[in-house]
Amino acid sequence: MSGLRRVFRAREWTLVLAVVAVVLAITVLGRGQQFASENNRTQLLRQIALLGTFAVGEAVVIIAGGIDLSVGSVIALGAMLSALAINRVAGAQPDAGLAGVLVALGAGALLGLLTGLFHSLLVTKLRLPPFIATLSTLAGLRSVSQLITNSAPVPVQIERFKWLADGTHAMYFFVAAAIAVGLLLGCTRAGRGLRAMGGNEDAARLSGLNTARLKTLAYGVCGVLAGIAGVLYASRSGQGDCRLGVGYELRAIAACVVGGCSLSGGTGSLSGVVLGVVLMETVLNGIGLVISRNATMWEGLVTGVVVVLAVTLNALRRER
């Protein structure tokens, strides 16, 4: 029982209850059958996986005391580069091999890694605030994603590429990302260092932690996962598209905050972020089912209310 408590502390149970309450509300409002339908389950799991893949990366940066505003633009550029890469390697052959898919994933991950390293350079060497450093790439990478094809989408007709985000396959990437981040944060010295640095950077440095290296790790992980998410989004829509990912950094940050991360750093758990993602996507899914007219107009309002409620509950819990 104590082991279970360690995994799911009180805050996470609150999130579990919130998810259950949302599902119950959807059912009570007469949309339970639709919610449980195969198509809707697939859609919901895919949306959770797509958001979750880059939200857990954002969580690493937030727990380390930083912020990464560039993930939406990394997703767009990652989608464009992966589509260009697989078309270059595999040509227009619909039955192209695994190598092309790996090259596409590699292109997205490499872009993310380089972006993360660039952020680390700006933050550690030039001592720019993370907000400014990542704001510059938020704008700059979006611009690059438009320039490389003059804003033209890059269609991909390769079946293996489509497989990546077909059905619930994106969940493999999300689960892998969550396990990797969970192990990093919970089972390694670096993970403890990230949390310590997020809580008090000066104290962490004075106690001998290499904070520059830890920041490189945090921004690198976040960048790689955002790049991979870009590949998944390209797979899903069947094309690299520079219109992808606008505002997604805010969705990731919101999921982290709902999951219990503090924007001042040092606080947060992987299980909380995963549940935050699940809660937010379940709420959005439920809105689409329950509200039969102008559903999309309600999404922002309801999401805002969920974020405020979650942060308020966290604050009240800390005061206790």
Binding site: Q34, N39, A139, T296
Partner: protein, 352 residues
Amino acid sequence: MMIRRLLLPILAVMGLLLAGCAPKDGANDKPSNLPPPDAKLTPSLAPSGGSGGKYALFITNANSPFWDSVEAGMKKGTAETGAQAKMQRNTAGDVAGQIDLLTQALTKKDEVLGVCVSVLEPGAQGIADAMKKLRDAGVPVITMDADGKAEARTAFIGTNNLEAGKLLGQKVKELIPGGGKYCAFVGTKSAQNARDRIAGFKQGAGDKFVEVEIYEDAVDPNKAQSNAETALTAHADASILLGLWSYNGPLLGRTVKDQKKLDKVKVICFDAEQNLLPLLADGTVTVTCVQRPYEFGRQGVALLNLLAKGDKAGADKMLGGRDFIDTGVDIVTKENYPQFKAGLDAKGLKGS
């Protein structure tokens, strides 16, 4: 320390300048008060000679593939008339960026034959003022794709979206005589072209077609696809999905195909982005209504050339006594797709 002091303001300014670079549909904010499409939609443009090294300047409202077709048409127009032309894309995608481009044109008025602009916000006084200053300086100004204030331009070249919607509605009525419920999908439903298209569709399709929901996606392809999936679940009785903006059609087609509901749900849409073409060819998309941005470019060059030369008779003939040219639309189904594709190929276009 000095580097840091300099970098902070530079990066902050860069951020402000580049923020909001998200592309927008190139066909926003169309006027709703245009008469029906002209039967003579693509008049032959007689060569009228060059204009002493000056060029016709095309200013877009944003940056998207839509403008590639306009640019291809510009090249055709220059070949037909002997005039020169350049396109400047409003990559900032905002009103201030467009005003800057118009102001730059005024600075270069000695080398500009005339200006053809797609007005980002018809109500933005700053854009209208910049257009008026150009006209006061003797530079002809016309609008394309999205019209501005009538007093600030000589003429408008574009699509009558109300009529385009009506034509699509009539075709759908012919293809699905029994009618049905439909969900519509668009980036922003308050955009004038979206309102005109859906109003026209209702008029053309008639009472047997019932709108159950309009989904907005803020030009996010992932959201657009998610909306399609939600619609198929939440409105299982809807038998038609209507994509109003260019990217909606391919995403709707793909979603319905993936969910194996092609026998129950028909996809209809506007425009023909590159990845819509295979879905049109195999019948996944039942019908699409395609604008002719190529003609915006081609006829825009010709009209500016005539206006710059002071050839009033030529300009009047081209305008047919009105202050606009409706370039019309193509209604494309699986049956006439080969001819449509051949037309694109002949113009060197990947989509339209």
